[in-house]
Amino acid sequence: MDAYLTSLATFVAINVTLALGLNLITGFCGQVSLGHAAFFGAGAYAAALVTTGGFPFAHGVVAAILAAGLLGLVVGLASLRVREDFLAITTMGAGFLFLGFVRKQDWLGGEFGIPGIQPPFAPRGMAVLAILSAVLVWLAGVAVRRSWMGRIFMAIARDEEAASSIGIDTARFKLAAFLLGTMSAGLAGAVYAHVVQLIVPDAFGFVQSITILAMVVVGGIGSNLGAVLGAVLLTLLPEMFRFVDSYKLLVYGGLLVLVMHLSPDGLVGIGRRLLRTVRR
């Protein structure tokens, strides 16, 4: 029972980290990214290569963040060239490209992936690590939100043309958002790799990307709290429905549709409306 909760908490925390990072890109800065799992994967692979090569875990984490950030920079630069409509599809393409390349490289383990990754701590310790990462990214998100950078992000998200017309170098800020978001995905990847101890390309595909996006949107895009709520809910949902294991996906999909209809601004939106009615 205890071990189960520990492992659940670990995965929830990892997903929260991912959702918070994506929220920076998509929610704060208005850039819909359908390829977030690629950065998650880049971080996981980088960390795995480093630690299975004999280096300490901390080095792996740094490598993960750097790798994901670098990839994020490349994709960010690419997405700058593209109009808003196409951004989602471009990021989707970037995700597929990354995976399509990785699964063919023998030095990355190819289809076998990278096995034998040694966790630096026991399961409880890994859970703590995952939670700490989530908290770290949360704090970073809050700090960004409150800072002048955050205000500019919001301006860009609301109306990019207007923002650039008053002299904001929107490109630089969009890149900054990409960088921050992808680096946190890298961190999540490093933790993930050391929890499951075997990483395979399939874990970082398009389905994973849209799952993370769903967490952000269901929680309430643009809101840090929303990202947390969405990640918690969507990670626990399949577990909650274990008693209808065979119908799980049907319910999950149906719920996504339902939530979008009932509350397009997510759980946070429901919360805000409730608070307003309560206050009256």
Binding site: T90, L249, G253, L256
Partner: protein
Amino acid sequence: MFYFELLIAGLVQGAMYAMMALGLTLIYGLLRILHIAHAAVFTLGGYVGVLAANSGLPLAVAAALAVLVAAAAGPLVYGTVYRPLLDKPPYVALIASIGLLIAMEDGFRLLFGPYGLSFAENPWFVTGPDLGGIFLSWVQIALGLAALAAVAGLGLFAVGSRTGVAWRATVDDPEMARSFGVSPERVRLLAFALASALAGLAGFLVGLLNNLIEPGMGNITSYKGLAIVVLGGLGNVPGTLWASLLLGVAESFGSVYLDRILDRDAIAFFILVAVLMWRPQGLARGR
């Protein structure tokens, strides 16, 4: 000979992509919605077709049923899932579409089993006309012809018919179109019906081609379809056809020569990203 065979294989694949992409471009051009759930309509066509055929109906009837059911499903999806979300940011409809696809895929699995269904009688996927050394099955020919017909039909429709012109007007400027008496709502419903009919037919033909209908069969084709929509130019019917065929052929050759470097499915997205870096507005002229 070898290269010719690769080309033919690529064109057949391209025809399949075209049927999906044409529908997606209709919808995306009109509503800016990434209709990922289009994959489910494709699969629906496949299931309806195989069930009809296996229950004894002649193949043409099964095909017609597949098309009709799909054509009805499309507007239904629009009405129940997308219409209430039209005034919301695009990612809302996207998530709803994803949810719908996940639910429908699992629904197919629950209803029809996880192993997939095959046609009880299917001589057409392994026999074909004698073309002197080249093998082309009847289904492959049918797929190619269907794609061409779809393109020709849509092209004529867009230019020649009143509704077609109305559609183009609505894509360009809904408000203006409305002021001319065009009902955007009717145009949308029609677009969904047409797009879904194409997808349903494609699903049926592909099901025949592989002799296998599976719950998730539409997924990867749908994702690539979205890439093709961008490549071909929004709402650009001939452009979408060219992009589809180009992609099919690129995959055919690419999977042989780029075998060690890139996964076959990634070729489509490699082309997409490369083209967009060179021409951010896609391959379409103007706009």
